[in-house]
């Protein structure tokens, strides 16, 4: 598949859940009277859920928390990981590198879901708290990848040549090393967003960060799975939306990373 076609496909796949999540609440309207649980028809074109609410309305309401939490958590994780990884890759001071990276290794050793559940049981965080928490467990991974990608670039003669020219630290570290690691980091960001979505959904599924009967795609999958064989839409639609979001994001990042066919260098 060519890059532009993949880009279009990715956009199409990601647009459905993203638009539903961001604009859905505007169009949802007033919740109607509750009907019987797990029914089909009767004016509910996706049926009703476990407490008799309209599934379509729930879908419209339930995306915002998942999507915004995941996006915020990924952005936050990189906000910390980028400077930490870059500094520890470029610095010559071994001690500074140890100081920056070792504490993260400790965090890395704790399973992320366990950490989320543990903190959640102590503090009962809201959506913002969940985003912070998920970002925190992603920082060590992201920082290590930033450092590994940057360390390779920082060891190239080009960095020494730039230093020989008297270039500033910023220009060497960000302008060259950061830029050279961009492809690796973009690929990682695509995967990381998927991982974060998975973690946020799992946390919501386990009741962390959202109320047990909240309109939330992940909660919907959890609560409605008892009626899966009676009324599948209440599980399938939110699940499909989450899948579309992750698949679409990865397609988008792939297309963005695929180099446009540039002229090849002259080779003997």
């Amino acid at each position: 598949m060519t890059a532009p076609r993949r880009l279009l496909l990715g956009l199409a796949v990601v647009a459905v859940p993203l638009l539903l999540a961001l604009l859905g609440p505007l169009f949802a309207g007033e919740p109607g009277p509750r009907a019987a649980s797990f029914t089909l028809g009767g004016g509910h074109w996706l049926g009703t859920d476990f407490v008799g609410r309209d599934v379509w309305q729930q879908v419209l309401h339930g995306g915002r928390t998942v999507v915004l939490t995941a996006l915020a958590a990924t952005a936050l994780a990189y906000l910390v990981a980028l400077p930490v990884g870059l500094v520890s890759a470029v610095t010559h001071a071994r001690r500074l590198e140890e100081l920056l990276m070792r504490p993260l290794d400790v965090l890395l050793a704790v399973p992320s879901l366990l950490l989320v559940l543990l903190v959640a049981s102590v503090f009962t965080p809201g959506a913002a708290g969940l985003a912070l928490l998920v970002a925190l467990v992603n920082v060590p991974d992201a920082a290590r990848i930033v450092r590994a990608a940057a360390a390779e670039a920082a060891a190239r003669p080009a960095v020494e040549a730039l230093r020989m020219q008297g270039e500033s630290w910023w220009r060497v570290a960000v302008g060259y090393v950061g830029r050279s690691s961009l492809r690796t980091l973009a690929a990682d960001a695509g995967i990381r967003l998927t991982g974060v979505l998975y973690l946020v959904s799992t946390a919501a599924f386990l009741g962390v960060g959202v109320a047990p009967d909240a309109a939330d795609w992940a909660v919907m999958v959890d609560r409605n799975r008892t009626g899966l064989f009676v009324q599948p839409w209440a599980v399938v639609v939110p699940a499909l939306l989450i899948v579309a979001l992750t698949t679409g994001t990865n397609l988008l990042f792939d297309a963005a990373l695929e180099k446009s066919p540039r002229r090849k260098g002259r080779r003997p």
Binding site: R156, P157, A158, E160, A161, L162, R163, M164, Q165, G166, E167, Y176, R179, S180, R263, G265, R266, P268
Partner: protein
Amino acid sequence: MNDETDPTTPPEPVAAIHGLRVEIDDRPIVDGVDLRVLPGTVTALVGASGSGKTTTGLALLGEYPPGARVTGEVQRPADGRVGYVPQHPAAVLNPARRVSALLDDLARPRVRHLPRPQRRTAARELVLRALSDARLPDAEALLRRYPHQLSGGQQQRVVLAQALLLGARVVVADEPTTGQDPVTKSGIVDQLAAVAARGIAVVLLSHDLDVVRALADEVLVLRAGRVVESGPAARLWQAPRHEWTRRLLGEQRPAPREEAPADPGLPTLHVRNLTAVHDRATTVLRVPDLALHPRECLAVVGRSGSGKTTLGRCLAGLHRHHDGEILLDGTPLPRSLRHRGRDRLAAVQYVFQDARAAFDEHRPVLHQVARTAVRLRGAGERAATDEASATLARLGLPEDLARRRPGELSGGELQRAALARALLAHPRVLICDEITSGLDTVTRRGILDLLAALVRDRGDLALVLITHDPATAALAHRIAVLDAGEVVEQGPAGRVLTEPRHPFTVALRETIDRLGTYTRA
């Protein structure tokens, strides 16, 4: 190597090419090449990089670049067995398997006719014989190693052994000596001569004329995909008919050396009791005393791993772990370039061996070159760009080329750009690390002439040439010879090259003589 063929009956060629034409996007890479490969002889294809040597060589294997349109006739050995020894042999050895496994795989089909219990020992014997034919003596120890545990030369010989095991009747060797020091080079020459002596046809693709001269029976000179001249090596060297051949062969002779300045005065750079360490423990270099005067060119020669590059990096402030003093005009230089400040950073500049790796691949070359003047001399953006493009033009790099990114320039062009980048600092000391290795003779001569002109014209410039190429060293006024991290000999170039004292220098001198590079002007 020709002596084994019977003079009465003309030998049948094992492979031949008639009127080969390879085009990519309607642009011919190889155009009308004819080639006859005779058993037991060495046929050399010479020419600058990009002249179609590799494409022609690969055609003997039945390989063509992707998307190429091929016309003409390629007659390959009946059993199709052609060995190929690439320039970077590591690329064709599976890194996950030991040498023994790599060779056994090829030996096993050849012992299939034997009863099962005998196969193992028979295969092992074949392997050992192939290794000794490829001139790898201590084979037993080597078989247990992985490819990355071998030196480049050993890897090359393992690939050669693979070709011999296959029973190849033609071996194509692509630039086998590029980037090797003279001693290793002469080993490779011996090894290829031994292969030819066994009746195998060797096709040598090279721009290293010393090796071609020492080995080849037949030579084809290629230029831009066409054969400009071909004939027996001896005839070609004595009476080249084509103008291009004459140029290619003529470029080899070293330029007449400029006389050293009469009154050296105060040294620009003075090294005292330098001891450099790697990993804070291993001493890799010891230089008790070394001085560099203005308008002087100092060549630092030695085998790879002798500490030449470390010396250059110490001077440039790129290798911080050393004791002793480096004085610039009598004042000590800080060890790390980070503490050198703008003026002293500009005063000592370093040109990297691998020019491609030393450029930022995302930005145009011109812009990167101009940055030196902006950062180190405080020039304005416009003035710096103008000066950069003037300097690049003087080094033979037109502006439209300089506006491209490094990926679109050839190795020789990038090397000149790297030189321009250092020169824009208006340095007092310029350190050039192997900047001509891997370039063909014409390009190399061009760069060496440039350097000679620079020392002559720029009043106070002093040059440090780190090299293992004797032709490059011949440019220098003084030579320092390094071996295993020690300065074993230093003095005026004429004296060191004509009356070498240290055994290593003597050995170096002998290999140079054997390969016939150094011709005294």
